[in-house]
Symmetry: C2
């Protein structure tokens, strides 16, 4: 498969915002993130899935000190987005596996998720890109999750 693991990372400084029932029509997330930009809220992870019923589920992370400001911003646009609910959650951590040449993520993902499962860590959110797989877990499980991944990918990280 040709990929090489470069790093395993832990981020405990964020909170997440979830919007449910966002109207699945053009312009909705544009409006949401224009609002974040206008209020100088720094967004890190953004994940969106679409439901079968014309609604979408959007989650994003911010530094914890900006969590309340982000929630306020979302409440301001909630109606325009058609969102049924806005929730803020400060008790998260993110663990990431970073590599190069990750054309296929299957093996890395299988190993990462298996390591977390063996540590009995529940995966709240998954986001990927060409070089990274990120999982959001409960803050209370952060250390266990991080240790599990360091152990799994230890050989390659030497």
């Amino acid at each position: 498969e040709g990929f090489v693991i470069r790093a395993v990372e832990l981020n405990r400084s964020e909170g997440k915002i979830t919007l449910d029932g966002v109207r699945d029509t053009p312009g909705m997330v544009s409006h949401l993130f224009q609002e974040m930009a206008g209020r100088n809220i720094d967004v890190n992870l953004i994940v969106q899935n679409s439901g079968p019923a014309g609604d979408a589920h959007v989650t994003f992370t911010v530094r914890r000190e900006q969590l309340e400001a982000a929630r306020t911003a979302c409440e301001a646009v909630r109606e325009k987005l058609g969102a049924t609910a806005v929730e803020a959650d400060a008790n998260i951590a993110t663990v990431s596996v970073i590599g190069v040449g990750m054309r296929s993520h299957t093996d890395v993902a299988a190993r990462m998720f298996a390591a977390l499962a063996r540590a009995n860590v529940n995966i709240d959110l998954i986001s990927t890109s060409e070089i990274e797989i990120e999982c959001v877990v409960r803050e209370s499980e952060a250390c266990r999750a991080h240790q599990a991944l360091l152990q799994e990918f230890h050989p390659e990280l030497e």
Copy 2:
């Protein structure tokens, strides 16, 4: 904000699989991706959001030639995952904005989503990492989406 746009990419060679109602307990996505690994299915994007009712929504992309094999694999584990539905969709395209130093994605995301909105492109799925924002759109809107992003980020790409 200190980030630099490096590339705008288009990928028209994938399909996506969506599993609804996956049990939100440890071990579920591990089982799913062990199955993919065991059948040599190459997975690219993976996105998961969790619902309020102990269920999760998992979507992943594969090359179109592997879409049916991926769907078959998911059907094989569907019951064990508690998934209510498995859907395969060949008619997608992915547009990505890649940069470095993207500590905050807010401005890039706002610009990317605004450009897609102006082109009346609907965003089906969003996935992010430190250096990349990826949006899945309809295959039929691929060109329009790609053009909109090239136009928006043109200055930085020179």
